[in-house]
Symmetry: D3
Amino acid sequence: MSTKINNFENGQKIEVPLLVHSVTKGVTQNGAPYLSIRFQDNTGTIEGKWWDVDPKMEEVIKPGTVGMVKCDVLLYRQNLQIRVHGFTKLDHYDLDEFVNASEYSNEFLKEQMSIYIGMIKNPIYSTIVEACFEHYGEDFYRYPAATRNHHDFVGGLATHVYGMCRMAVSLKEIYDEIDLDLLLAGILLHDMGKIDEYTQPMLSQYSTQGRLLGHISIMHGHLYEIIHRLGLVDTEESMLLRHLILSHHGLLEYGSPVRPMVKEAEILNFLDNLDARMNMFEKLLEDTEEGTFSPREFALENRAFYKPKGVK
Amino acid sequence: MSTKINNFENGQKIEVPLLVHSVTKGVTQNGAPYLSIRFQDNTGTIEGKWWDVDPKMEEVIKPGTVGMVKCDVLLYRQNLQIRVHGFTKLDHYDLDEFVNASEYSNEFLKEQMSIYIGMIKNPIYSTIVEACFEHYGEDFYRYPAATRNHHDFVGGLATHVYGMCRMAVSLKEIYDEIDLDLLLAGILLHDMGKIDEYTQPMLSQYSTQGRLLGHISIMHGHLYEIIHRLGLVDTEESMLLRHLILSHHGLLEYGSPVRPMVKEAEILNFLDNLDARMNMFEKLLEDTEEGTFSPREFALENRAFYKPKGVK
Amino acid sequence: MSTKINNFENGQKIEVPLLVHSVTKGVTQNGAPYLSIRFQDNTGTIEGKWWDVDPKMEEVIKPGTVGMVKCDVLLYRQNLQIRVHGFTKLDHYDLDEFVNASEYSNEFLKEQMSIYIGMIKNPIYSTIVEACFEHYGEDFYRYPAATRNHHDFVGGLATHVYGMCRMAVSLKEIYDEIDLDLLLAGILLHDMGKIDEYTQPMLSQYSTQGRLLGHISIMHGHLYEIIHRLGLVDTEESMLLRHLILSHHGLLEYGSPVRPMVKEAEILNFLDNLDARMNMFEKLLEDTEEGTFSPREFALENRAFYKPKGVK
Amino acid sequence: MSTKINNFENGQKIEVPLLVHSVTKGVTQNGAPYLSIRFQDNTGTIEGKWWDVDPKMEEVIKPGTVGMVKCDVLLYRQNLQIRVHGFTKLDHYDLDEFVNASEYSNEFLKEQMSIYIGMIKNPIYSTIVEACFEHYGEDFYRYPAATRNHHDFVGGLATHVYGMCRMAVSLKEIYDEIDLDLLLAGILLHDMGKIDEYTQPMLSQYSTQGRLLGHISIMHGHLYEIIHRLGLVDTEESMLLRHLILSHHGLLEYGSPVRPMVKEAEILNFLDNLDARMNMFEKLLEDTEEGTFSPREFALENRAFYKPKGVK
Amino acid sequence: MSTKINNFENGQKIEVPLLVHSVTKGVTQNGAPYLSIRFQDNTGTIEGKWWDVDPKMEEVIKPGTVGMVKCDVLLYRQNLQIRVHGFTKLDHYDLDEFVNASEYSNEFLKEQMSIYIGMIKNPIYSTIVEACFEHYGEDFYRYPAATRNHHDFVGGLATHVYGMCRMAVSLKEIYDEIDLDLLLAGILLHDMGKIDEYTQPMLSQYSTQGRLLGHISIMHGHLYEIIHRLGLVDTEESMLLRHLILSHHGLLEYGSPVRPMVKEAEILNFLDNLDARMNMFEKLLEDTEEGTFSPREFALENRAFYKPKGVK
Amino acid sequence: MSTKINNFENGQKIEVPLLVHSVTKGVTQNGAPYLSIRFQDNTGTIEGKWWDVDPKMEEVIKPGTVGMVKCDVLLYRQNLQIRVHGFTKLDHYDLDEFVNASEYSNEFLKEQMSIYIGMIKNPIYSTIVEACFEHYGEDFYRYPAATRNHHDFVGGLATHVYGMCRMAVSLKEIYDEIDLDLLLAGILLHDMGKIDEYTQPMLSQYSTQGRLLGHISIMHGHLYEIIHRLGLVDTEESMLLRHLILSHHGLLEYGSPVRPMVKEAEILNFLDNLDARMNMFEKLLEDTEEGTFSPREFALENRAFYKPKGVK
């Protein structure tokens, strides 16, 4: 097995397979062309420079390409960087080596989703949920839950939904008045629109419709079309489920066209938030030393978080 | 023709046909039952009291009922009020005598809508717009554009759309880069969801789905279902039109899940706002004396407006 | 057993024991004195009027007094009200008949607190927590968690803490990286300062120091004094626990002098919020008919909540 | 005719007349002096560097100077840039070749202003408007309407006012209750204070009084002084016109000391906003490819705008 | 000397001279006319009712009229009120008996203003200040500084300016870098526009121009006209002084079209605020018992203030 | 005496004692190590680069170290910079040569604090204040009042408190109702918590407890512990003083857990603000030329301030 990015050391001369994350062309003050390339594997990313690059390489080095990279590792402004000398595109590789993925396997997540869908006793909710899962198919298990910030890895969407379902079941034990069927249905569908909002499962960006419509309205559109097709437009259940999808961001300022006005809608918003934050804390504190503060994190209201020292 | 509310005078004893706007039951300090009834005709509304009312009348006097009212007019706290002594339900009457209606006739508005729909040259937009008009049918010409504030009368929705269409055509003459097809399609459809958001064309309230979903998402759902049925989901036009509907309130805080990000979406929001305000000014200043300020109007950011004196 | 307020009927003439919640003096337009008295029992409250009252009764009828009330029940502006004719102070009564109390018994709550304190393995946290419980003693089980809104009943504070502890333990099972010791210590102490912030366990008001200092700073003062006395000022644990108390309102605007900057502080704020909301939903929807909206609730950002009809 | 900036190509060695937009001095790490100069012609701007420049050139190369520039064009960080080798000041040139100007000629704009001033029938308004036009004279046709963002070119102020006048006349046809005299007078004068707020008609900056007083108060001061001189202080018209000038930014936060409280003041604010936005859209989308989003634009609330593809 | 309002007692039958503060007409449920009149003397105000009043009295009882009032004092809803039986207009009276006035005499205030004007050494500032004082003459010593909230009494404006001048001089001793000439000139003129903003010195309301233009712009207009007449438009001093007037509310949201951008402008805003607050505290705490909180005061950001008990 | 930073000239080769303010390591594109060092003396700071530095120097050159620096002065991007060639650590030096210090001597400040403490007549306040001064001892005269912005120099805290005390005494002469004892006690203690909030008296940073608790709560904790120890918990005075400390930032958003609700608390907040601003103006305008604007200053709400020209 080849060296991984998180093991690179200053001074190494190596040849390793890496995924191109993004690339920009430049010209030095002397007029020589170069490429700034961000490479990635499943342990992290690293910045690379290819000075005096053959212009033809621009056609080869594109986001999403995997290639064997010949390079020197060096320290630049206190960060490791690589000087690239060669790049040979690879056609066969194991994607898992290059992208982050859920800690849970695809099979496990599918199994869990089946279990939670199976817990929904109300047939209207379960019919609708199943039709939505059918509509999105495999993509539900491949897309991330966000392009950055939280659950931004292959399988992130399903992982996020799984965490929320677990909390929902726990909560039902403490607060019996919760309608678990409605809450689970809402959790399972709430972020499905992200599959259309993003361009692809990995290295994903916002699609044009994603920016112009947003995942909340995209999903609500699909959901209404499905409900209409199933002849369920006039049921109380379909109205409640639509409300949960529309209101799950909690505030108008966050893109929900209506605020939660049903108890389970409020809880859905809380669980969404809490699971996302738990994932962000994990990422943020992983790279923070004990007894120090993490960098400020925009998605956590620009706060820095302190990692306690040796308390436990 | 009988006396109208705006002609009632202190001291009159009259018998007039009136529409019940709303009604509340009460009991005097002495334990006697009474009804507080707000009556309406097409010149205004007036508060009425029916002291020592026969409890059976509660079954008769309901919002929306028209009846012959026997009463005395008197001044109470500086406002005219009526003491009701009798009420006989009427089965035949001319609704126009009791509710406000657009200054334009139903025929005129239909004709105008046809003209503006006919101006749309792009077949995708015109197909979609026609399907939406078919879906809502006559209701488009009967519903108000708001439950209060602006265009809150029978035909208000179509009247509001008509004003906006006229401005759109004028604007196109000044700013040629406007895509008039997209703008007209957006104007024609933008508030159609209000037909489901409100309970009925007159004396309308918010329906349950109106409160839980909002007219923007209701309309976007219908629109997507229609686009899907017509096989137009993947067209640029359908995406743009959906964006115009979703963004027409301009700000997330005002219930649009996305902000306008297409030129015509921004213009739609401006025209919507301007036409609504022109209608509010008209209502507000009608009852204000020259040289004085109107009452504060919540929907105009709580401002009072000054009515200039004899300038023109 | 005597009739309770929630069973009063229009027209009844009754004699029942009631608690005086609050009282105001008035004079009729004819110059006659009267008292407006809000009475309470453990099923609700009702407004009463005592016309032409003997001025001496003012000395007797004071908030917190329980008395046998002779009165007529009548309907006034669509609400039941009572006309009081007599009031005899009672010296012996069972307080539980007049005030709301937790659904959990005092014993049960004490037992549960012992269990959760016992779960804290870190001796610094448990020493501090025990010293705080000793400081406040019985009051912890008697005070409400808020003067209105949520858990506003005898034992409300302990009930609120109990709900949060249960969630904390569930969450730890899902998110293993949580420091349960710190989180439980924070939950157990976070609202203790309310015992000084309010004047008394029932019918409680804000005390002067409650208004000028606030329960967060009151508790932080006590906590620091205890930590200082125990010689624990320089421990990481005492600093973290102080941070959790100070930051538990989440935002500066809500009275926390610092925002949560430790993972468990963020979770504490979420659990506090969620448990309070679950209790508010319960109160709010209890009196709402299925298929309708509750009144707007200020503490829930002025939203009205919809109670679904017969879904489940 | 010489090459223009928008036709420069990587690798060219050219000699072209250019206007100096701004200039900064620097010293390389080796201690050699250089100049960073932004040049401009009527097709755009370009960054230039003059390495090892003769220090005397600093006296020659000043913002506003036009000179013949000897240089090489090269690509630097994906943008074209020039290396300057020589600069000869030109004394005679056609300013129009170097600065952007209105699409309308000076004569046309003067003619149009005359027409709109002529439409004002009320003699008080027309007397005041004429006195203001006399006060500012030619400058009204030379200044921009903003230093950047919208109508930031020679003649921009008059062009902006022209667009607004056209809309006002259209609007009057749709909404007859508008007082066109007041509205036109307000439009014609609203931004005149910018002539004092900016330092000069081209490459303009905020003047000291512009920053300390703002164009709204500067214009209101002039207007009041003129009204006072004309003996019109106590007329309704002068008060209304002063109100329109003061309130035309719509919100206190945007620098209006009072909010619009007269119908025409509200409309003025709308038309100002709409015409400015139409001009910003034009500039922003001109450089955006179909099917993509423009860069974010601060003056449009930091939104990026989408340019639809081939719809029309 | 006759009884004053603050000495009225329940049950009294009296005849006293009172000033009419405001008046409203009404009709009882039985159709009888009555007047609700708020009366005032220099110790407070009291509500009065004149039942079955002769309609002719409407012509006599107007705000600002002083009359001999025949009435009974009674307690209504815990407040004293009077039943009026007669009113005889008085033509001769001492205004000071009916309105609140500054604790300082007119002479004293004039003397003090002379002293502070005399302290200004820079002739440009002193010339301008003197011209403004000449423009407003006696009114400067008669108007209040606000219609309610602070310094809302005859002479309030001059009293407020006096307090600020005293602080300015003290501050100059501590912070020598202050330009006392500019600061004093700014203080002396900052609120003069209120003389036009209000309708009259006592019982004053906002005038129409006061609402449409605001005292800041009114004063800035006068000031510019005076500066223009004196030929001082191009002096640094006149620009600075205009800036101080325009920016003295500190924030755009509070009606200043520019924020303070000169040190003395910032100080002026502070002193204005501090002196106003000191006056509000005095009024607010005067009627508050020691050891209790005052009512909430809107102008103090809706806070209630605590009056400490016997500390000193 | 050696050359000071504010006298350095382009082209000098010098050897001077300097204090290391901060330091960062780097590697050139050629892989050579270098240090970026910010040096400081009591006249300012300057950026330095040490190319090809011996890695061992990293151990020597640390923030807070004073050394003899051998270097060349040069101009880089319009700022002076130094190229370092040697650094010899100094063990003996006069700290005053390297850090900014109060314009007042340590002795003077101690004397002044004694005077103001002595002015407090109420024995409860003076006992508490003395105990707090004893707790912090010398540090009170060494710490700054802020890490940047205002009074960010040795002795800054005492200097800030001194300015505020002077104003308090002046104010008492104008507004006699002020409780000077409470106000002085509040001023003397309000910022003492900064001694724990910062890491050290010079080049100070926020400590971990400073970030997690904040100086307001740190000081309130100490104060309560002292009050508790002195047996003064139940006095009105201790409650008021705690309130002044807690509320001195004025707004919840600024970190005060309660808003000022006692007159003296409001004044404390004003004086704190005013003295801080006077110090910021001094720093900001010192480096600004007459007739120009300073840079924007974040701590002054991002405003730029104008420095008037030769007015006085």
